[in-house]
Subunit: 425 residues, 2 copies
């Protein structure tokens, strides 16, 4: 079964409210095996709603509309469906009783306007609203010698969500054939969409849908398959995942849509490692991302944003000689910062960033976008200089933070330093 | 002129990503005097995109599409517009050069797949992308004896927004003829949209368009007027701005869409004051925001993210007795942190945050959302405890950082401490 989704309301089309309903409905329908082929936003105008319904029905056997079921004069969805299907409006006594009861319960009198919320195109199936006044409904429509359906639900998200889960989905399952969709998402870092696409070329059968989404600084890869048996779909996704992981290697840092700071947190927690961060060019961004993760206080003990040389010396014990000889943006300074913050905090790991985020401060030798990242642990260190290019300041900060977090991830995952890990664990 | 908006991408139609682009485009187009009559969401499928474009063109003279301009095989927008308009694809050498240059700058090789991002339906006007690889374009289409236009922009929100503001809106104005729109935006903090609306009730003539947009944690107020003479519009906006500022007082922190950290930076720079930050619950977010501002190294010397009590003692000199008696989340600890970081860094001002961002860690006395903020300067301090409520962790962090920055702004603006300012200046 194919479905098209309609979001009805001036506030949505005019950009005053973000339409979260359509996405929610789409995701739920897909889980139920319905193919969602498109969506429309339409203003509070009967002619336009009728036209949008016509178009939606041309594409799909099921049209799900949200919004426009309120009591006021700009709520026109029911009228539009009645006109589209050429069915008169009929009062549903049970719905009217429920609406009156809601008002009674909160000690208010029902306005005459609310009466229209109990009227539906004749022949509709009513979807009760346990948490609001506006019931929804399903109206059959004949098209192309086939019975198609228009579903209308209220636009208030929490009312719509309950109605969808408790009434529409059971109704659909009763109608539907057995076909369902299953999707798996992977978060990656280090390669662009085009490179991922090339690495996966020819990896999958033609019915496997592969999609990429860049959400800087990460890129998501998504695999979708369809079939009739839920367990078989999951087991097929397991096989596809193995192929994807083999092709993309450790560029995949997580299954699912996960921030790299979460992945790093999980790994540190699992190995009982602690972390301190010394930031110069990233200015606090790494600490901010790490502390966005609930429970991060367990493994994140200290961050120092040492923007000035004085601060690098006084709080991170970077030797004067290192700063004088190599400058603040150097792998030597980065290493001293990482080791300094690790000692001060008494953590297993220290990570440091120093660089030129721009737009000022670049030189011929160290242009804007020059960044040094270092990692220090008990008995060892790692460092590297990067040329990220003269991008905007925020881009340089975000990319540097991501590389630094990825380096922590790769360190914790690697088997190169088993001694340090077990000593610290 | 009427416009229809298209959001292209499986992830949007299937509900995996919320479409914020369409609303943003709609709001901006309306400010520019364009009537937005509807929107479509469409999957990554050439036939469906062509059909959606056909329908969109039937309703409106202008169709604005976002998404599907990436380098991979599921990016099909350009191909769909070429088929719709029956125009061959033509390589734009300037765009190809710009894409190659972007890759060169970050030291990566351009994938052959990216080449298609420099191809456009012949006769299109290219919209350059200063912050990403995918340029946009405007393609003319003949319909009903009239030249209509399809505009395609990338789906990455920050790329799309810059392209819209810097290139599409000027293009539209050039099309629109003599009548022009002038808009002025104000950034505010401390009141909600409804409160701002009330304070401005009756303030302006009926032709003045007043709109609010919550972009947490700030709220923007936007005044728009239209007329034929640019100079007269600007002078009218000056008058309107004076009225708005009188009504909203120091809740307006900047004219324009400015981050509060930029405002604070401007003020510190102008008074030659320096700042250090001690963060506990904000985890580095304040430092991150301050250092997003170019030139911030001039006034921002040090940040310490003291997540553990040990770090508060060792790096910020918070006395054991204060922590033992009042706890880590207290105005006493916040004051000691602010004073400690100020002394360590030798700055004019120190600001500190400590609180319970949740979801764990709350108690009856100090529930999740309890936050203490302090400011310290030579010879004085200010502190306050806030109950922000048990919102999600990221919300508590962002609100706390905003209040702390706003407190710095108010301190620097006030005339209460002229001695400290001139001493430090």
């Amino acid at each position: 079964m194919r479905a098209t989704i309609l979001a009805i309301g001036d506030e949505i089309v005019h950009g005053l409210t973000t339409d979260t309903n359509s996405g929610f409905v789409a995701a739920r329908l897909r889980e139920a095996g319905v193919e969602v082929v498109g969506g429309f936003g339409v203003t509070d105008d009967v002619d336009r709603i009728v036209r949008a319904l016509e178009r939606a029905l041309a594409d799909a056997e099921l049209v799900v509309a949200t919004g426009g079921l309120g009591p006021t004069s700009d709520d026109l969805t029911t009228a539009a469906v009645a006109r589209l299907t050429d069915r008169p409006l009929a009062l549903d006594a049970a719905s009217l009783g429920a609406i009156e009861e809601r008002f009674r319960a909160i000690g208010r009198e029902m306005s005459p306007n609310n009466r229209k919320q109990a009227e539906f195109p004749a022949g509709s199936t009513v979807l009760a609203n346990p948490v609001g006044t506006a019931p929804g409904f399903v109206t059959p429509v004949e098209r192309d010698g086939q019975t198609r359906h228009v579903v209308c639900m209220p636009g208030v998200p929490h009312e719509m969500r309950r109605m969808l889960d408790e009434q529409l989905l059971p109704w659909l399952r009763a109608q539907a054939g057995a076909r369902r969709f299953a999707t798996r998402v992977f978060s990656t870092f280090g390669l662009g969409e085009a490179q991922l696409d090339e690495l996966l070329a020819g990896a999958f059968e033609s019915d496997v849908r592969v999609a990429f989404r860049a959400a800087f600084p990460k890129v998501q890869a998504r695999l979708s398959v369809s079939g009739e048996d839920a367990a078989a779909l999951e087991s097929r996704l397991d096989t596809l995942e193995a192929v994807l992981r083999e092709r993309l290697g450790d560029h995949v840092y997580a299954a699912g849509d996960e921030d790299l700071a979460e992945t790093v947190g999980r790994l540190l927690h699992a190995r009982r490692l602690t972390l301190a961060v010394a930031e110069s060019c990233t200015g606090g961004l790494i600490g901010d991302r790490i502390t966005d993760v609930p429970g991060s206080s367990e493994y994140f003990l200290l961050g120092v944003v040492a923007y000035s040389n004085d601060a690098k010396q006084a709080l991170l014990d970077v030797p004067d000689a290192v700063l004088a000889e190599h400058g603040a943006v150097s792998i030597e300074t980065a290493e001293a910062m990482a080791e300094g913050v690790r000692r001060r905090a008494g953590t297993a790991l220290g990570v440091a960033t120093t660089g030129i985020a721009g737009p000022e401060g670049g030189t011929d030798e160290k242009p804007v976008g020059t960044v040094c990242i270092a990692l220090a642990w008990d008995g060892g260190r790692w460092s590297r200089r990067y040329q990220l290019g003269a991008r905007d300041r925020s881009w340089v900060k975000r990319m540097t933070a991501q590389i630094a977090l990825d380096r922590v991830r790769r360190y914790v995952l690697s088997d190169v330093h088993p001694d340090e890990e077990s000593n610290d664990g």
